[in-house]
Symmetry: C2
């Protein structure tokens, strides 16, 4: 087979055969097909699309480019959750221990943050000693011991995706449904899970700006997962404002601990519960959603879920004293409230501006080699629909540098819009599939 | 400017600004923008197109990536001809001396063949001693001395095109109107000419399979040439069968000499005359086409055109004795007629099969580093519409290897189709622009 003839077929809008996809992707992974041919192919895929069967083969080929974790020794049903990413999204940290308490195994391979979106691993690394570089053997041992583990992608997991993602990033081929689907699903499928729940975000702070766009991506991922013989559900959830009340690594660990301790956590807990319910249903641990919710609530009420989180962290090397006494978590030197400039009802909170303010203070990476300041971020964040008086606190900034704090203030000042009349909240879960 | 943002704009179908095009192409030429970004951009251009203003800027940028020949010392009007390529096309060799005899300067930079299409330089190299590697100074000296010169592209002419063409070839982005137009026109515009006549081939043996497709390419090139301040005409000519009666390098030199000596040369001379007429009109050397044709015919009748061709060849180092006595040109050891398998009217002669037969015998290159056998090829080729008896000669094969001759016979056997009724000939010149 000649690579340019395969590119030509996709360029002309034809569906590629299994043989063509495997030849091209395996050749690219091995370095036999050069970057420039893959770049032309990626642009052709972006502009001409792929059908579900093609995407399933692409996903399978990328998954098989590296190790597929053998979880056969774990007898519990193995379920994971994946989110397309948003500001303040610490759902995984709360959900994994809750669901593990209900007898499900959660072998979760997670990622780091880049740009304004925070990464689950970065949040966990705010806790001293926590290791996300577990070997496959260590990973499976933690899952076996406590039911859940959150670690990073090993070098041998889906190397085709690692190479292709770096190329897409610099060739304007990231926002392709086919390529996003394959990139997400190949890594999740390599975890050796039975089922997967997808949290596809929509809104101003998400990659997908409308429910319609989110639905296309969700359908594509559900269809590929099922094609590959897995149970898959998807929820389309709201990211028109940050999720929860905190953004920033150590601050989000504090919020996680509060949620697990059963303190009211509003929208954050609602989304977490909705996703965790689907996991219990896929794992056949509950007959229906209300029953699943009762089981999950019990893990909070009994303190079991919080204990499970600490156990997982301990098994991954964390200094659990920091979780027992959250004041010992990294704490910023400067804390300053940002207050409402006028009274009224909050009609919008730009997740983009909140995310950029956190990034400015050092909570994230502008480039992959930046280091993170775990202490900084935002807490006490108001919510869309809140009625506020002039001067009332909208959020608290946490910074370690006065200049960066000032820059962040300018950014958060642009994040809020107000209305004179009460504002309807958009539903947290817009749609559900599977 | 960020390369991927420019790719993104073209991907989304926007027109690029002059600044964006120059930044991207210059960056690519200098190696600052890597091949993979150019490959993604080329595919986006292929699928989303460019408007005439964008193509003109692309052409100008590619032209300025290298030297633009300073022809200001030549006082005659400077006109060139370019053909999109076909089998048996030796028009340049006949046309250049004829037009030069009428007081026009023809500074022609030509190319080599690859695949089944023959290259003008390869044909001329069948004549011992002929040099196509002239320096710019030598090139101008020959044009000044005899009015015409046919040489190869120097390394410093449009290096952006050289680099981009190699990339397009392996990324399925060759047949893009925008990229073809810029590739052809940047090199022609770098010759320092005032005007250009384009021979855009259509038909089974051409790149453009229909008149409609040829018209789109012709319009694009005429529009870009005019945007750059040049006089440009285009003819859309027939390539449903090979042009003339010979294909193969030395054989085509023989046919050229016959045409220049005033022997009847059918379709070949008709196309040559039509193109040469446009050149005289653009150069304002004739008031109208009939007057131009009389002038051109006179150069044949007087023997001036033949003498001019020999003079040009002598100035470029050729052993003119080979032209005075064509029997001294490279001659194949084996010559074998291929005869009609049935009687009737010839309804089709596949230029593709004729070209592949020549390639098989060694007349062309399968890869850029192949060497050419100048002696081999096809002569005495019949024409569509000819009435033939069973066993009547359709062509003569010239080969230096019996096995290759046999392979070529199998190919030419597939080239001919027949009809029982007389066959209408398609017009040689389908359309004319400018």
């Amino acid at each position: 087979m000649i690579p340019q003839w395969i590119i030509e077929r996709k360029r002309d809008g034809h569906a590629l055969s299994e043989e063509e996809i495997r030849f091209f992707i395996n050749g690219f992974t091995l370095g036999e097909i050069p970057d420039y041919q893959m770049a032309a192919m990626a642009m052709a895929i972006y502009l001409k699309g792929m059908n579900p069967a093609e995407i399933a083969i692409l996903t399978d080929t990328m998954m098989r480019s590296g190790d597929v974790i053998d979880t056969s020794a774990i007898t519990k049903p193995k379920v994971d959750k994946h989110s397309t990413g948003g500001i303040g999204d610490k759902v995984s940290l709360i959900l994994a221990p809750m669901v593990a308490c209900c007898g499900v195994a959660i072998p979760m391979v997670s990622g780091r943050g880049l740009g304004i979106t925070g990464g689950t691993l970065d949040k966990l690394e705010a806790v001293e000693g926590y290791r996300c570089d577990l070997s496959t053997e260590e990973f499976l041992r933690v899952v076996d011991a406590c039911g859940c583990c959150i670690t990073g992608q090993t070098g041998s997991l889906a190397p085709a995706d690692k190479k292709l993602y770096a190329l897409r990033d610099v060739t304007a081929t990231v926002p392709s449904i086919a390529l996003i689907t394959a990139s997400i699903m190949c890594k999740k499928m390599a975890e050796g899970i039975d089922s997967l729940v997808l949290d596809v975000k929509w809104g101003a702070g998400a990659f997908m700006k409308t429910v319609a766009d989110a639905r296309i991506l969700a359908n594509s991922m559900v269809s590929v997962g099922r094609e590959m013989g897995k149970g898959v559900s998807a929820l389309i959830t709201d990211m028109n404002q940050p999720l929860g009340r905190c953004a920033g690594n150590a601050l989000e660990i504090r919020e996680t601990l509060q949620c697990l301790a059963g303190e009211p956590c509003d929208d954050l807990m609602e989304v977490t519960m909705a996703l965790a319910e689907r996991m219990l249903l896929l794992a056949k641990k509950a007959p229906d959603a209300p029953a699943a919710r009762l089981m999950l609530q019990a893990t909070l009420d009994s303190g079991e879920a919080l204990a499970k989180f600490k156990e997982m962290m301990r098994l991954q090397g964390a200094n659990v004293a920091m979780l027992d006494e959250p004041d010992r978590l990294p704490t910023a030197v400067l804390q300053k409230d940002f207050n409402a400039l006028r009274g009224g009802f909050i009609s919008g909170i730009s997740a983009d501006h909140i995310g950029r303010a956190c990034l400015t203070m050092g909570a994230g990476r502008k480039r992959t080699d930046d280091t993170i300041d775990f202490a900084v971020g935002i807490s006490n964040l108001a919510k869309i629909g809140d009625q506020v008086e002039p001067g009332q606190r909208l959020l608290t900034l946490h910074a370690n540098d006065a200049f960066k704090l000032e820059d962040a203030e300018h950014l958060v000042a642009q994040a809020f819009t107000y209305a004179d009349e009460p504002v309807a909240r958009t539903p947290l879960v817009a749609e559900q599939m599977g």
